[in-house]
């Protein structure tokens, strides 16, 4: 799941350099779409995850129009606000269950089967999102985003319609995150603003991308897999408290010694060996 989320964040955050702390809002939009569709309308779950993506995309378009005009830290802060404000709104909105959350019947199969389906669907989605990211990176679109990241004014004078390009990346990233949230929704069969809009998840996405190396399709993949694995192993074998500390240490080490992320660092080492 984090692979897909981190890759979808990376489209705008990594390629175009617009670091968002509100990506979880799109994920939550997807999860809530599934929840509302299933609990209130009984719509078949296999259609709702795309719908979740579409809603998240629409949300991105509405929010992106003003927010994408901001640069640097201002963009980051306002993206964070998006998640916070939405979380507050959902806590108080009856229709989506407000602060009690929304329970709904899980997909009518056994728990084990449900887990398997969830796992496989997530895996497929993660692969799909990674492939999309890889394609974007090697395309005209990706070149344009990279130009924006490096110098937005220069990008403009090169003939790049920067607002539109950023918007496209934002919407695409939101759509993918929404689809991830939509699938997550089936599996959980319960959504609550505190869980679904978890600030930790927003941060985690960012950390994973920075860990692996943002601006490449493979960086977030590595970061998400590695950090998830490390986290699981430590929680299982040592204990949850230690895991947090270790996690923090690992990130400090990476950021100090490999500021571009693990993957570009490794590449640099390899290149140095060849030379």
């Amino acid at each position: 799941m984090y692979v897909a989320l981190t890759e979808s964040w990376n489209l705008l955050g990594g390629y175009a350099g617009y670091v968002s702390l509100g990506h979880i809002a799109f994920f939550a939009t997807g999860a809530y779409t599934t929840a509302v569709c299933m609990s209130r309308y009984g719509i078949s779950p296999f259609a709702t995850f795309l719908l979740g993506g579409v809603f998240a995309g629409i949300l991105a378009a509405l929010v992106g129009f003003p927010v994408l005009r901001l640069r640097g830290a201002y963009f980051t802060i306002s993206s964070l606000l998006l998640a916070v404000v939405m979380q507050l709104a959902f806590l108080n909105w009856e229709f989506v269950g407000s602060s009690t959350g929304l329970w709904y019947k899980p997909v009518p199969v056994s728990i084990v089967a449900n887990r398997t389906i969830f796992y496989e669907a997530m895996l497929l989605l993660a692969i799909a999102v990674t492939l999309v990211a890889r394609r974007v990176e090697r395309s005209r679109f990706g070149m344009g985003l990279a130009a924006i990241r490096e110098d937005e004014d220069v990008a403009k004078t090169m003939g790049i319609n920067t607002p539109w390009l950023k918007m496209k990346a934002f919407i695409l990233g939101a759509f993918l995150a929404g689809a991830v949230g939509g699938i997550y929704g089936y599996y959980m069969s319960y959504v609550h603003p505190d869980i679904t809009f978890s600030m930790n998840a927003s941060l985690l996405i960012l950390l994973m991308a920075f860990f692996g190396g943002c601006g490449t399709w493979s960086g977030p993949l590595l970061g998400a897999v590695a950090l998830s694995l490390v986290n699981q192993l430590i929680v299982t074998f040592i204990g949850a408290e230690i895991s947090r500390i270790f996690y923090g240490l690992l990130l400090v080490v990476v950021i100090i010694f490999m500021p571009d992320g693990v993957l570009p660092y490794m590449r640099g080492l390899l290149a140095a060996k060849d030379a």
Partner: protein, 242 residues
């Protein structure tokens, strides 16, 4: 080709440009000079749309471009370099130019084709040996050439060069002067350039426009301008004192 009528731009209370008229004829090399802070770079920023003009009109190829977005102006055929070089530092030299080709006016959308065109531009500027190096590793003079390559890669009709000669040694200046002529003669691109290096200005420009405090002081051939008493006082006179 490019014409400005009473162009003004203010920054707060500072009048950076006041009712400036200028014209760049097709196929010529035109220079823009003036003491530091006289508004030369501001004029370039206004022409390319990065800072919209407060009043006045700018006409390019018979079309009014005042108030157009920077990317629209770029697509109409005006490219520029920046005074403080701004290559896309993290990208390779080839990618810098490829991005410009892909979003430029040749309507090349495929990566492979874009790369091919970009390689030609690198050859034109003799940058091919740096092809895969990150732009930030280039020596200063090569960074300047990369700026020019990136600007040319958008396939412009008019190229605005902002102090591409400053900080170069004599040999590099000679080379750059030849480059400006090659851009005009081989590529057919009209050139409008800002310069402090007198040798370069006198060696390249057919017409020079002098501004001071955002107001036009003189205009004419290099000989006319260098004999103009107002120019000598404001510009060359000032140079002697420092």
């Amino acid at each position: 080709m490019l014409e400005g009528v009473r162009v003004s731009r203010k920054f707060g209370g500072l009048r950076a440009l006041t009712d400036l008229d200028f014209a760049v004829e097709k196929g010529r090399i035109v220079g823009l000079i003036g003491p530091n802070g006289s508004g030369k770079t501001t004029l370039f920023n206004v022409i390319t749309g990065l800072y919209p003009a407060d009043s006045g009109r700018i006409i390019f190829k018979g079309r009014e471009i005042t108030g157009s977005k920077p990317y629209e102006i770029a697509r109409l055929g005006i490219a520029r370099t920046f005074q403080i070089v701004r290559p896309l530092m993290g990208l390779s030299v080839l990618d810098n130019v490829t991005a410009a080709v892909l979003y430029g006016r040749e309507n090349i959308k495929s990566m492979a084709k874009g790369r091919e065109r970009a390689e030609e531009h690198l050859k034109f500027l003799r940058l091919e040996e740096w092809r895969d190096a990150p732009a930030q590793h280039l020596p200063a003079a090569d960074k300047k050439r990369l700026e020019v390559a990136r600007a040319l890669a958008t396939h412009p009709d008019l190229l605005l060069l902002d102090e591409v000669f400053s900080g170069l040694n004599d040999k590099e200046i000679e080379e750059s002067i030849r480059l400006v002529f090659r851009i005009r003669d081989e590529l057919g691109v009209t050139v409008f350039l800002i310069e402090h290096v007198m040798k370069a200005i006198m060696g390249t420009c057919e017409k020079i426009c002098v501004i001071q405090y955002g107001v036009k002081l003189a205009e004419g051939t290099p000989e006319e301008v260098s004999r103009n008493p107002a120019v000598i006082e404001a510009y060359l006179g000032k140079k002697k004192s420092c």
